[in-house]
């Protein structure tokens, strides 16, 4: 029992060490993960043919690492194709969340401050949140046959094919509804008197919302909004069902060929995990960067 104190001290020191070690491991992991992904994408889209390796082929020879570990050789063989497919996952997520954000701000403002537009906004949000995302994608792709709209656009290589645009429309519409809800609750958490004070110096309602309410609300919204980003990374896999060759779809067809479902989907899980952790780290960084002393979450620190 007399050793308890000493043990605790060591454990505490250990935690401090492992804290900064963890930080370094995270940074190293991030650099490795993104360095490798970017290298794959550069290799595929930017290097002229004949330089680098053909798309889908590994930088290393799988046979060379086989003596070290069979699992490693399996990873080296299949990760390149998955990395190429992850490009579309990233494109789908980033473009949809960004377009969705631009639209979600007016939708949420209408919901909170509008009269008729509030009803329209509510109806839209309930319709989209109340139906499955997959059903929404099917309506756009099969019922409305939207991909014909984008047939004429150039595609191939780095440019997405027509069906990707359909998926982006679907994810954007869906994401608007969810993002608008996060922003709406943030708008409601801004002290009402802030807008009164803005009106009292002669700002119009619109100016008050734009310059006073929204800058505060959007900061409040970051933690909840980050959830939507994380969800969207994973929900982008539903694009597989309207034939978009994103990460999940490519994994499924590789596995259908080699029957190594467990192995392939373990690799896919690692890639999704890498994307999700990157997204949450990024948003935590954004939150820190835009923090204002005395506003919102920073008060409790």
């Amino acid at each position: 029992m007399s050793e308890t104190g000493a043990t605790r001290t060591t454990a505490d020191t250990g935690r401090v060490v492992s804290g900064s070690l963890g930080r370094w491991l995270t940074i190293a992991g991030g650099v490795l993960f993104w360095g490798w992904l970017l290298a794959r994408w550069l290799n595929n889209w930017l290097l002229p043919a004949g330089v680098g390796v053909p798309p889908g082929e590994s930088f290393l020879d799988p046979a060379a690492v086989a003596p070290i570990s069979d699992s490693l050789a399996f990873a080296v063989e299949y990760l390149p194709q998955l990395a190429d497919a992850a490009w579309l996952t990233v494109v789908l997520t980033v473009v949809s969340i960004a377009l969705g954000f631009v639209l979600a701000v007016p939708v949420s403002v209408a919901r909170v401050y509008g009269t008729y537009s509030s009803t329209v906004s509510l109806a839209f949000t309930e319709l989209i949140r109340g139906t499955p995302l997959l059903a929404q994608l099917f309506v756009l792709y099969y019922a409305l046959n939207l991909s014909t709209l984008f047939r004429g656009l150039p595609d191939g290589g780095v440019l997405p094919s027509a069906v990707v645009y359909v998926a982006i429309i679907g994810f954007t519409i869906n994401s608007v509804a969810y993002q608008a809800e996060y922003i709406r609750s943030a708008l409601l958490s801004v002290d009402r008197e802030q807008l009164t004070a803005a009106r009292a110096i002669g700002l119009s309602q619109r100016q008050g919302i734009r310059h006073v309410v929204l800058p505060q609300a959007l900061r409040f919204a970051i933690p909840g909004w980050s959830n939507e980003l994380v969800y969207l990374i994973k929900y982008s896999s539903l694009a597989a069902f309207i034939t978009v060759p994103e990460l999940f779809n490519v994994a499924r067809s590789i596995a259908a060929d080699n029957f190594a479902y467990t192995g392939i989907f373990a690799l896919v899980a690692v890639l999704y995990l890498g994307l999700v952790i990157s997204a949450s780290k990024l948003m935590a960084g954004v939150e820190r960067r835009v923090a204002i002393p005395g506003l919102g979450s920073t008060t409790s620190q």
Partner: protein
């Protein structure tokens, strides 16, 4: 035109919230340069009356005029009216996400159309006037209550209003911070600013106010020079109320 057009004319203003009569046939006028202090128990309609003057609240009946603005006319441009009336709040209500300087420049830029540099210069001048020239880049969360309220005053002053409304500007402050705010207000009064002030600071009223109103249950119970109202109140309710305020603030 009479030679005595008041800056602010409040005529027979009434207002009710549901069954409760908040203001009942209130009339008074203020000339340019007047400093009128309004006192009265909680719920007597003081804040509502202030908010009627800059149309944060609509009256039920009666009329308010401020200079050329027919305040109670439903069709007026309220933003134009509010450019000419400043307001300082009990809860201060600084824009929490903006520095002291930006709190003041926002109205200059967006409402008065100042350029970035002009707004900065004018705002700095106003903040120096309230003694905060060294806190331009502080956020509200980094300022004391008294400093915040002084920024609130600078924010209202920057719009160069004809009339400045104060809604209990010191009642949310710690007692030791009240003095720095009332000192700034007394300076403004001495400088000729027209001010309508809801406050229970009798010291400020005595020093700076040209007259005092006592509001009770939505009506003006008594009006007169502050000294007279405090020393020899005619109305029993006034006397009783002032007596209680004195006990709280410890002022004789």
């Amino acid at each position: 035109m009479s030679d005595h057009d008041p800056l602010l004319a409040v005529e027979s203003v009434s207002k009710r919230y549901g069954d409760e009569r908040v203001l009942n046939d209130v009339s008074f006028t203020m000339d340019r340069g007047d400093v009128t202090v309004m006192m009265g128990p909680s719920g007597s309609g003081k804040s509502t009356l202030l908010r009627c003057v800059n149309r944060l609240t609509d009256v039920d009946s009666g009329e308010i005029r401020l200079g050329d603005h027919r305040v109670t006319d439903p069709g007026i441009d309220v933003d134009a009216l509010r450019r000419d009336v400043g307001m300082v709040f009990q809860d201060i209500n600084l824009f929490t996400h903006l520095t002291a300087l930006k709190n003041v420049t926002l109205g200059l830029r967006e409402v008065r159309g100042f350029s970035k540099d002009d707004a900065r210069e004018a705002a700095t001048e106003q903040l120096e006037r309230v003694g905060l020239g060294d806190q331009l880049d502080s956020y509200p969360g980094e300022l004391s209550g008294g400093q915040k309220q002084r920024v609130g005053i600078a924010r209202a002053l920057a719009m160069e209003p004809d009339l400045l409304l104060f809604d209990e500007p010191t009642s949310a402050l710690d007692p030791e911070l009240v003095g720095e705010v009332t000192a700034v207000m007394a300076d403004l009064a001495a400088g000729g600013m027209t001010m309508l002030v809801v406050t229970h600071e009798k010291g400020f009223a005595r020093e700076a106010a040209t007259d005092a109103l006592f509001l009770d249950a939505g009506s003006i119970a008594e009006r007169g020079p502050p000294a007279q109202l405090f020393e020899n109140p005619e109305n029993e309710r006034t006397a009783e109320f002032l007596d209680r305020v004195s006990t709280v603030s410890g002022e004789p």
